[in-house]
């Protein structure tokens, strides 16, 4: 377990370095002439060259990467081209907003997905199982902006239960904030439930049909005790890794949902800065999202290993 942790932690800087190279290359090499973009079509060639030189944009690639990475690591993330404010503060605020949404969605997701999976798995091959599995499969295939639109039309436009926009208004109480976040979170949950529930269902079936549950039945163990002592834990352990995968999905889905619901999060910022070619903002946003992504993957792996004694106590090979 400890060697596993060390190995995984050692891999994090490596992967981050890879992410940083990719982000840098994509944002530095591809966007063309920054001076021309910033100064506009009318500016003279000398002015553009001077601008580029002042920003160090005519230095060799490796030097620019080193400088950029140095700045990034020391917290100097530059100033947004379009918004004019420091990128660090901007990204921090947006990250907080995105995390609120993601955590809310995750808190909704876990009980719904585990419940659906356990229900379908323990009622294996009944109409209930088929219904839960089929609906989960269908919902998991539909992009979140499609479910989001349907939710908006039904619950916001027709029924007026929830606001159309998730953008926080001044003076919102905590309840109002959650009400605003409910529809965006729900569209993410609907997307992810099917996948997690399918894993829980499969492992529940494996456990229920498996040797030790049969052995417990043959010893005359009451069904409630079998469920509590044997099925619950064994069936939900594999779900941890499925949940980890879905957290990554959630992060990706933020871009879409934040755009649809006008929510000022990191995903919306990523898209906006990419469209605007706001390079410092784009770089910082991509790096922070990449880091969040890696953290989530790592946490999911560790949780999975903590839950399963076979892995936790495995003799290192």
């Amino acid at each position: 377990m400890r060697t596993f942790l060390l190995r995984r932690l050692a891999a994090v800087p490596l992967t981050l370095a890879g992410v940083s190279v990719l982000v840098f290359l994509a944002t530095d090499v591809l966007p063309g002439d920054v001076g021309r973009t910033v100064l506009g079509r009318e500016a003279s060639a000398e002015a553009v060259a001077q601008y580029n030189h002042r920003l160090g944009l005519d230095d060799p690639l490796w030097l620019r990467y080193g400088r950029w990475l140095g700045h990034f690591l020391t917290g100097d993330w530059g100033t947004s081209y379009t918004l004019g404010e420091p990128v660090a503060g901007l990204v921090r605020d947006r990250l907080a907003a995105s995390l609120t949404l993601a955590v809310f969605a995750f808190v909704l997701l876990v009980p719904v997905a585990l419940g659906a999976g356990l229900l379908a798995g323990s009622r294996h091959d009944t109409w209930l199982d088929r219904a839960v599995s089929g609906v989960g499969l269908a919902l998991g295939a539909i992009p979140e902006f499609v479910t989001g639109v349907v939710l908006l039309v039904v619950f916001a436009v027709q029924l007026h239960w929830f606001p159309v926009s998730a953008q926080p208004a001044p003076g919102d109480g905590p309840f109002a904030v959650l009400a605003r976040l409910f529809l965006p979170a729900l569209s993410l949950v609907l997307l992810c439930t099917g996948y997690v529930a399918r894993h829980v269902r499969a492992s529940t079936i494996a456990v229920v049909d498996g040797g030790y549950v049969r052995a417990a039945r043959l010893r005359g163990t009451p069904p409630a005790r079998i469920l509590a002592r044997h099925v619950l834990r064994n069936a939900t352990v594999p779900a941890a890794s499925a949940l980890g995968v879905q957290l990554q999905f959630l992060l990706g889905g933020l871009v879409v949902v934040e755009l649809l619901f006008n929510y000022p999060g990191l995903g919306a910022l990523l898209l906006q800065s990419a469209v605007d070619r706001d390079v410092p903002t784009l770089q910082a946003t991509a790096m922070v999202l990449g880091l969040a992504y890696l953290t989530v993957t790592l946490l999911a792996d560790i949780t999975y290993r903590l839950l399963d004694p076979r892995v936790r106590l495995a003799v290192p090979a």
């Binding site: 049969r214 005359g220 009451p222 064994n234 076979r310």
Partner: protein, 656 residues
């Protein structure tokens, strides 16, 4: 109210397919009843049904199961649950499957006690005591199943049985998959358990010999019918049903080579559940069936001596006892070496799997390699074949160096070493027809004239050629695999457990095909098996592998009869399992389990190879005169030579 287990006309079905048909037998408290049969005969379904359990889709189709007067199948769900807590206990083949991987074993035993009404504390304490009694002392209760060996897991299951104190104990292949020494320990423990509980015991097994040794009475199941039952010793010595006789004649016996007694396979294959049956279900495969067998299924009829048989012509099947009288060979002719293995070492993830193995296979010689699972048999086979090249040591083939890596071998040499694998389900490419498989092998190996000849030589029916492997039986697939390995002109064929996945009645046919191919071509075999009886049937010489070390090799008869290595003695069945000790870092690997170990020597110094006779060496510290012998092997050979032989015409060919 009768004590013990009473099964009356019990039937069960899956959908329209009958899997059990009117099975009746009784087991008194303290008595052990053995149920024998091949895979698919319904024995596991029967075992479960004794506890009122059926797998999904199964249906109780009539009859009664009574345990100490309780009509088990008439109980409702809640009553059944209450009855099970003290009424019945199971021990299955795979102890790992029956244990919850996320619970400590102490808690799992305690759970059984809690069901019997003990408090949490008392149950935990009692569980530790029970685990101690089955040889898992002290801190073992806090371990998880994956931290235990297969034998230890079976001990946990036995502790759970002790906790339940059932009236009926069902043992379903309890030792299958365990190595010989562990098997003996577990069986020993089960015998003590039976004495203590005075429960009725049903032992389900495919292993006739095991049932014969451990049961008072036996029943033989065929296609869901109990075709014969009676006292174990008498049924096995003098079978009344032709199927029982066929099973006995197709099973090799320890220490009896092919030159003494040839195996007879039962032709055909058992009907699948749901196949239409008219008359006797065994008639299609029966050597004595006639028109009298066709009209109706024979009902079990009582014979004298507490026996019963369901056959129109009981006790008429010809028996095959001995064929050729063979004296114990004085000296094995020294064959010119074909393959030499020198100082071969192989490791997986830092653990030595093979350690300094020296082995020679002569031209035309069959060398049998025995050892328990995990002893390195397959690694040795794959190393010789070039499929496991990483490690040290030298290989020589036909007088020239043989590179370890397959890709470095000369194509001509490579074609001359072929392999037959264990698992019939994966040995053939499922995407190709038999004809294509053999055609491809013939073309790349550059040998036999045509596919039909190849098939005929392995007794494969021509109509099978255009089928894909999934439409063949296990025995047929293995025969295709043999045909494939003989598609060129192999000098050495490595057979890695070729029959261990097959039922007894089928395995004989495969062994016969292998024997015939060898007689026809003079090919050498390295024949690997965990089963000494199977190895002894074909091998000229036998090598014994224990945890990567070749502890003994020599002429087959000499190795089996002794004087031999204490481990070989344990395999042959003579050695008593020793109380376990910690394995030493240096010294003999068998030290911990050896009943003849010398403390202070065997645990510190690696044993030398001692020459016992011509080409017979033992790696042991014991003085040759002190090495164990196994007299029963010698006596089997001697009695079998004095037996009257059945004329060879009645043996005929091995059915395809």
């Amino acid at each position: 109210m009768s004590a013990g287990l009473l099964v009356e006309a019990l039937s069960a079905a899956y959908g329209p397919a009958t899997v059990l048909r009117e099975v009746s037998f009784a087991v008194a408290p303290g008595e052990t009843f053995g149920l024998v049969g091949e895979s698919g005969c319904g024995k596991t379904t029967l075992g479960y049904l004794l506890g009122g359990h059926l797998r999904p889709g199964g249906r109780h189709a009539g009859g009664r199961v009574t345990v100490d007067g309780v009509d088990v199948l008439a109980l409702d769900a809640a009553a059944l649950r209450r009855w099970r807590r003290g009424g019945i206990a199971f021990v299955h083949q795979d102890g790992a499957g029956a244990l919850d991987p996320t619970m400590r074993i102490g808690a799992q035993v305690a759970e059984v006690l809690r069901l019997r009404g003990l408090g949490r504390r008392a149950a935990a304490a009692e569980a530790v005591g029970l685990l101690d009694r089955v040889g898992l002392p002290g801190g073992a209760a806090r371990r998880y199943p994956h931290q235990l060996s297969g034998g230890q897991r079976q001990r946990v299951m036995i502790a759970a049985v002790l906790a339940a104190r059932p009236r009926l104990l069902v043992l379903d292949e309890p030792t299958t998959g365990l190595d010989a020494a562990t098997q003996a320990e577990v069986l020993d423990l089960l015998a003590r358990l039976r004495a203590e509980l005075s429960a009725a015991v049903v032992l389900i097994s495919h292993d006739l010999e095991l049932v014969g040794r451990h049961c008072d009475r036996v029943g033989v199941l065929y296609a869901g019918r109990l075709v014969e039952s009676g006292p174990a010793a008498e049924v096995l010595a003098d079978p009344a049903h032709p199927y029982t006789a066929g099973l006995l004649d197709s099973a090799p016996r320890r220490g009896v080579p092919r030159t003494v007694r040839r195996l007879a396979a039962i032709p055909g294959r058992p009907p699948l559940p749901g196949d239409p049956v008219a008359g006797c279900v065994f008639a299609a495969r029966c050597p004595v069936a006639d028109s009298a067998c066709a009209p109706a299924e024979p009902a079990p009829a009582d014979l004298p001596g507490g026996r019963a048989v369901a056959c129109v012509h009981p006790r008429t099947a010809p028996r095959r006892r001995a064929e050729t009288a063979v004296a114990v060979p004085a000296a094995v002719p020294v064959a010119e070496p074909l393959l030499e293995v020198h100082d071969l070492t192989r490791a997986y993830a830092g653990t030595a799997v093979l350690e300094r193995v020296d082995l020679t296979i002569g031209r035309g010689e069959v060398v049998g390699l025995v050892g328990e699972s995990g002893s390195g048999k397959t690694t040795l086979a794959r190393a010789i074949a070039g499929l496991h090249p990483d490690g040290t040591g030298r290989l020589r083939f036909a007088g020239a160096d043989l590179p370890a890596r397959l890709a470095r071998r000369d194509p001509d040499v490579r074609r001359r070493i072929q392999m037959v694998f264990q698992d019939p389900d994966t040995t053939l490419n499922p995407a190709q027809t038999v004809r294509r498989i053999l055609e491809r092998a013939r073309r790349t190996l550059g040998g036999e004239p045509d596919v039909d000849t190849l098939a005929a030589r392995t007794r494969l029916d021509g109509e099978l050629l255009d089928r894909r492997p999934d439409r063949l039986s296990g025995g047929q697939r293995q025969r295709v695999a043999i045909a494939r390995s003989f598609a060129g002109r192999p000098a050495l064929v490595i057979c890695d457990e070729p029959v261990s996945a097959l039922d007894v009645s089928v395995q004989a046919a495969v062994l016969e095909v292998l024997a015939e191919q060898r007689e026809r071509t003079g090919t050498s075999y390295l024949f690997i098996s965990h089963d000494l009886a199977v190895v002894g049937y074909l091998a000229d010489r036998i090598a014994v592998l224990y945890r990567g070390v070749l502890v003994e090799q020599g002429p087959a008869h000499a190795v089996l009869a002794g004087p031999h290595h204490p481990y070989t003695a344990a395999l042959v069945g003579a050695g008593r399992p020793a109380p376990p000790a910690l394995a030493p870092a240096a010294g003999c690997r068998f030290f911990a389990a050896c009943f003849r170990r010398i403390e202070g020597l065997c645990d510190t110094t690696a044993p030398p190879d001692t020459q016992l006779g011509p080409r017979h060496t033992v790696r042991c510290h014991l003085d040759p005169a002190a090495l164990p012998r196994t007299d029963s092997i010698t006596s089997i050979s001697i009695t079998s030579t004095s037996n009257t032989s059945i004329s060879s015409t009645s043996i005929g060919g091995v059915p395809a």
